[in-house]
């Protein structure tokens, strides 16, 4: 068990330190996120949509697309000088490589969120009032879901020439079902829709805020476990 933790922390620290020293992804992510927020802010002026609706939309879109940047890097960087063989030849469980990469991607997305959430709140003049813990919880759950699938597929597409476009297609397709409860949860946090919703629309099938969080926890758990189990097949040469 101690070996597992030391391996996990070694790869995690390596990824974070590499990024902090080279600053290859984080600045790009933040600028892309801000540009997405800016474009949607302009759009919300034009179409007269409630800002409480556009705010969560801006948050999820910027997380998804900026998340793709960091996930794509996580294995492409290993591929560049064949560093991946060093990882694969090391006498460690391949599942541990997945978990540490997942942790590093989640941490990077968390840093991104800490910067981009205030930007969205200011741009759309939003505030979750007393619901800060709910906001943080929903963002963290979404973050884990996005990173879990993204990390696995990053290993899958690392040899392909159309790496980034292929990664975006795969990740967005698999995450589509999770984005429905995620959108609902953020909309309720900002008071754009009531806590419980009845009717026949796509969002009302989630039902309530608690159910939306439940769906997200279930998706995260299923995706993390399945991706962890299948990672060995995805990384093998």
């Amino acid at each position: 068990m101690r070996f597992f933790w030391s391996t996990l922390s070694a790869i995690f620290v390596k990824d974070i330190v590499t990024e902090l020293r080279s600053r290859q992804v984080l600045p790009t992510m933040i600028v892309l996120g801000m540009l997405i927020v800016w474009v949607l802010r302009m759009a919300s002026e034009a179409i007269l949509t409630s800002k409480a609706v556009m705010g969560p939309v801006a948050l999820w879109i910027s997380f998804l697309f900026s998340g793709l940047l960091v996930q794509e890097r996580s294995f492409a960087a290993e591929q560049q000088h064949d560093c991946i063989y060093g990882l694969l030849l090391a006498p460690i469980d391949q599942g541990t490589i997945y978990l540490s990469k997942l942790l590093a991607n989640t941490a990077m997305l968390c840093i991104f969120e800490i910067i981009i959430v205030p930007v969205v709140l200011v741009a759309f003049r939003l505030g979750p009032d007393t619901r800060w813990p709910a906001l943080a919880g929903v963002l963290l759950l979404g973050n884990i879901g996005i990173s879990s699938v993204g990390t696995l597929f990053s290993a899958v597409v690392r040899v392909s020439r159309a790496r980034s476009s292929l990664l975006s297609v795969l990740v967005l397709v698999v995450l589509m079902p999770m984005m429905i409860p995620a959108t609902f949860a953020l909309l309720t946090v900002f008071g754009a829709v009531p806590e419980t919703l009845q009717g026949t629309g796509a969002l009302s099938f989630i039902g309530s805020f608690n159910a939306a969080v439940g769906y997200m926890i279930a998706f995260d758990a299923v995706f993390v476990v399945a991706c962890w189990l299948l990672f060995g097949f995805a990384i093998k040469e």
Binding site: L166, V169, V174, I180, A202, F223, A226
Partner: protein
């Protein structure tokens, strides 16, 4: 055997179409009772079930491939995806026509429509992934099997939404005559047999193709 299967499938299909258009026709929506739009139900429901069956076949052969590494299973998986995509396209197209006739819109984001669109996207993503992976055939097969298993995790949601969630889309249908039941059962059998035949023919073709390629390389 294959010819017999095709003949039985086409006989059932023609029988189902004939009954559906004559004695088993379903009345149109209350606003327009003469409209034949509800007859699309005979093609819509079987194709939805077939697209799910193809996904199940894909899951089983993908797990089988990861377990045994037999190349035939990978080719069957590709055949299942191609046939599944065909039925998912029919499902979404017929659903869209039905929706236009019944509710006046081509598409609206209700749970079942959203989830059947997701199903279609999953099939398409599999084919895109398959066509853009370089390297050895084993590696491509393994990665596609991994994607198929992850993608299947989304499918329970499709089934749950179709059965248990309140929606303007109906979960079941009441038949008013025995002819309608007969037409439905026949169209269901015909579509399932058609899917099975298509998978069989396509997998056979893919296997012959890969054998031929191996011979050329040797």
């Amino acid at each position: 055997m294959r010819r017999l299967l095709l003949v039985v499938t086409f006989l059932l299909m023609f029988g189902a179409i004939w009954i559906a258009l004559t004695v088993g026709a379903i009345k149109g929506p209350p606003a327009n009772p003469d409209s034949p739009v509800r007859n699309i139900f005979y093609a819509h429901v079987p194709s939805s079930i077939c697209s799910l069956i193809c996904f199940l076949v894909l899951l089983v052969v993908s797990i089988g491939y990861l377990y045994t590494g037999r190349p035939v299973l990978d080719l069957v998986a590709l055949a299942a995806v191609e046939v599944g995509l065909l039925f998912a396209t029919v499902l979404n197209a017929t659903g869209s026509i039905f929706s236009r006739g019944e509710w006046g819109v081509w598409w609206t984001p209700t749970p079942r429509l959203v989830t059947s669109a997701i199903l279609w996207f999953l099939y398409v993503a599999y084919l895109i992934l398959r066509s853009s992976l370089p390297g050895s055939a084993q590696r491509r097969a393994r990665i596609c099997a991994v994607f198929a298993i992850i993608a299947f995790l989304d499918v329970p949601l499709v089934i749950i939404s179709a059965r248990f969630i309140p929606d303007m889309h109906r979960a079941s249908f009441e038949f008013t005559s025995t002819w309608q039941t007969a037409a439905f059962v026949m169209s269901m059998m015909a579509t399932v047999l058609l899917a099975a035949t298509f998978i069989w023919l396509r997998a056979d073709l893919l296997i012959s193709e890969s054998k031929l390629q191996e011979e050329i390389v040797l």
